[in-house]
Structures are given as structure tokens and as C-alpha cells.
Amino acid sequence: MTRSELPALSIAELRPLLCRREVSPREVLEALEERINAVDGKIGAYLSRDFDAAAVEAEKADINLPLGGIPVAIKDIINVAGQPCTCASKILRGYRAPYNATAIERLRAAGAIPFGKTNLDEFAMGSSTENSSAQLTRNPWDLSRVRGGSSGGSAAAVAVDAAFGALGTDTGGSIRQPAALSGIVGVKPSYGRVSRYGLTAFASSLDQVGSLTKTVRDSALIMNAIAGPDPCDTTCLNAPVPDYAAELGRGLKDMRLGLPKEYMIEGIDSAVRQAVDAAVKHLSSLGAEIVDVSLPHTDYAISVYYILATAEASANLARFDGVRYGYRAENPTDLLDFYGRTREEGFGAEVKRRIILGTYVLSSGYYDAYYLRAQKVRELIRRDFEQAFAKVDALVSPTSPTPAFKIGEKTSDPLQMYLADIFTNAGNLAGICGISLPCGFARSESGRPLPIGLQFLGKALDEARIFEIAYAYEQSTEWHKARPSLNDQSIVGK
């Protein structure tokens, strides 16, 4: 194997080469750096990378550890000590993290090397990575299309072999949706499975750190490292962590999969519907029993999500006041001008929009009508899933109603953009786990293949089961082997 072939490997393929000393962590890192330098100009996945520091880590990497010597890309909202953490916001331009997130400590303890930070929608608010203040991240399957979001940089890097794996965050679909639109695997763990300590908070009751990888097994390997209780995050659940990777391969016999009838709605792209229908048939042929289930409050999830997520965001983002860190407006006339202008000049449009909405639904006179009511409907949504999981082991659905849309197509209509999360954000509201993996392709008008994602949702702390199902599907299909071709594409237009 030549060095230029290394970046295309999965983590599980690379590990034996490292263990047999056929390649060194240093060579792996250098091969990855070359690949990033070759492709990132077209894709725009990375906001920063520190290969000098990574090289030092690679030299002393303990390859006997489960992720020993594996470089991992990190969404630029998770703090890695000494590296920038901008959240793709002007308000944090130049910010350097003074400490490590727990997920980073855990990755390092497992031998991985967090070497670079990836692009996102500002503060993870968005479904296309178009809300980044730093740069546009393009979809390598079609450079005129969005990458999905908000973990768009992490998804892009993995999809073009410019990362072996990456961490992202998922508040309403921000790992699963970009993974679907990129033809890779994305995992949103159950709420409380992974510590949020060191993740810059967007919506604290919904945020989770998870993985974006080329294969299901790689995601299981990363989850093995990052999952588990943490005294620094009281919402992190004190539950044992199984070996997710060791349990793969038992198959789908006796597995019951629920098909939520509310998810087969008008407005699903016909290619997405066909691909998911075919995937369900395939799962049935593998031995799974397919059962119709109902999630009666599905239609309300987007409304509940945007009320609760923006309310929490408006409170979380109050910390950006220009005093202790980040951007500060010059020459204020008084205290209100100091705060008001610092935030006006520091935040981008979508973040401002969500602060306004969140402040409104929490404000006196509207709290009961919006925020409290949304919390009650959230409870009904949670019960919907509880009742469904009493009948089935997991749910199967599309990840996103459409393949990747055009850059700029939805930026002027926030409501349309919000509807892109229709199949993912109920899972965050209910605190359950989800995985997206490739299940086919649509075609763009110019004939380019556009990946389609299949989602499995499992009950809280049942990650092992959705890994099992996803692995059975993946190993009996070829979709995950497809890679985008960048050589025949150039960037046209803006």
C-alpha cells in the first residue's frame, strides 16, 4: 500500500496496519495532511489544523490503544486545548480553547489525535453549513450543493477521505443530516450518553456529541472511546458502556423494526422514498420483522423544537457580552450600547434570528403560550416513542426528506430550512439515539449522484442495537463503498 492510498482506509482497516508496524502514526498523519492539502480548497471542510502539534502526538502515540495513532477531525464547537474554537462565529474569532472537552480527553486516552477543527453553521445553528461566518463548505458529490449541517465540515472531510473520522454535534439532526447528504455514517447518541463538558452550548437539553465516519464499525469504535459518565456534566448518564464494536455481526434475526406511518409524508423526494422502501424490503429479507407504528405527534415536532431550541440558545448565548472573551465593540456610549453593538457586530443573521425568537417565547406574557406548552408537547412526543419502542426494537425512516439542495436555495426562507430536520429533531426532543447511513442515490439534473440516508432510531441508551441493525444493512449492501469524484468538478459561480 502506498502512502497516498492510506487516507481512503477506514479506522478499522488502518488499525491492523499500525499494529503490525507496516505504517507509523507519523506516516498516517503526513498522508492525511497531503490529502487535505489536495482537496480542501474545493471543499472548505477545515477551519484550522495544527499538524505540528499533531506530529508530536503521533511520535509518542501508543498504538496498542483502541484508537492509537488515528487522527480525528473535530467540529469547531468542541474545545481542544490550545486550538482555536470559533464556533464559525465572528464573535469567537481568535478564541483559543484553554481546556479540553471531556470527549477530547477520552479520544486522547484511547490514543486518537485531534488535529484539526471543521466548519459548521455558526454555533451549530443551521442545516446547510451556509451560516458559517468563515467559509462555505461544499458537497463533494456536487459542488453546487450544500453539505448539510450543521456538522458540515466534519461530514465533508470524512466523505472525501480528508479525515478518518470526526466528531460532530447533533441538536436537531446536525450529525445525521449532513452524514446522509454526504453518503457517510453519522451517530447521534442518546441524550446523556456522551459528556457535553467542553461543548459550547447551543441548546443544552438537546445537544449531544457524536461521530461521523466511513463505516458503522468506525462509529462504534469512536463511541467506545467517548461514551460514559462524567462528573463535569451532571446530565451525563451513569450507565455502563458496552463494547459497541465487539457486539457487531449478530444479524437481524428476531429484530422488530417499526415504520412510523407519519414519516411517509407528502414532500419526500421520490428517489428518497424509493431508496428507503427498497432498504426496508432488504432489511426484511435479512430477517427483520417490519411493523407499522404510529408517532401521532410527529407533525408538532418542528414547532416544539424551534421554540425550545431557540429559548435555550437565547439563554446560552447571553454569555457572549464582550467582557471575558470574544469580540468586543469599540467606543461604546453606555453599557447597553456596549452589549447591543458587541452582539450586533459579532453574531450572524441566523444566530440573531434565533436569539430573537428564543427571547420572545421566554418573555413575560408569552412563556406559558409558547415555551411551557412546547415542553408539554415535548412530553407527548417522548411518550409517542416510548409506546412505539414497547412494540419494536428500533424505528426506520429516511434521514432527510430530500437529497442535498442547491447552495442558496433555502437561505432566504428559514421555515423551509427548518423543515429539513423533520425526521431527525423529534429524536433529540425525546432524548433517544439515532444513526444515519447511506442507502442509495438520487440524481441531480446534471446526472450527478446525490447520496440518500437511512435512519434508525433506538430507545435511550440502546446504541448497541442500532449499531447492530445498521451494520447488518451496511455489510449486505455496497452503498458505503461509493466515494465522490472531485476531479471532474470545478467550482462554478459564487
Partner: protein
């Protein structure tokens, strides 16, 4: 949630300590009006007797031992300050 949403973006922006341009105020008024109109459908649901869920996974009162641990030095805490001096954050004068 009675009647049409009566969001006043300019007023809420003051509450949020967030200055907006006239153009942003106009645009958000329209866009968020549409989002709130969409959210009106929550009115359809009978939530009588339903408890409000603050989290998907209800957990309460998590304690840990009250033990001293490492924490930031002043230099670390100040490392991203817009302005600092004498181990302190420097801010503009806000009282006469």
C-alpha cells in the same frame, strides 16, 4: 397562544441586548412571524394534565463529592480577554 402572534422584534431585541439594523428588524419581523404562525398548530393539542418535559431523559439532583480539584489559573481565565491588566478583565467605564 390566542390569535395572531404579536411579536415586536424591535422590543424583543432590546430585551436580548442585541442591536438590529432597520433592515434586519423588518426581515425578522416577517420571517419569525411565519415561523410563529407555523407554530400556532401547537394550539390544537390538549395538554391538560401533561407534565412539562425539560429533558428527554428525566434525571434530577445529581451530586458529586465536594473535593478540591484543579481549576483555571488567572492567566488561563484571562487568556481570551478582549482587554486585561493586573490579572483583571478591563471593561469600559459604565458608571459616572
Amino acid at each position: 397562544m390566542a390569535g395572531e402572534p404579536d411579536l415586536d422584534v424591535a422590543y424583543v431585541a432590546k430585551l436580548a441586548r442585541l442591536n438590529l439594523s432597520a433592515e434586519e428588524t423588518r426581515l425578522f419581523q416577517k420571517q419569525l412571524g411565519e415561523v410563529l404562525k407555523y407554530a400556532e398548530k401547537l394550539k390544537e393539542i390538549d395538554v391538560t394534565g401533561v407534565e412539562a418535559a425539560a429533558h428527554g431523559v428525566p434525571i434530577f439532583n445529581v451530586f458529586r463529592e465536594d473535593e478540591p480539584r484543579d481549576c483555571f489559573t488567572a492567566q488561563q481565565a484571562l487568556s481570551n480577554a478582549p482587554r486585561q491588566a493586573n490579572n483583571l478583565f478591563i471593561v469600559p467605564k459604565v458608571v459616572e
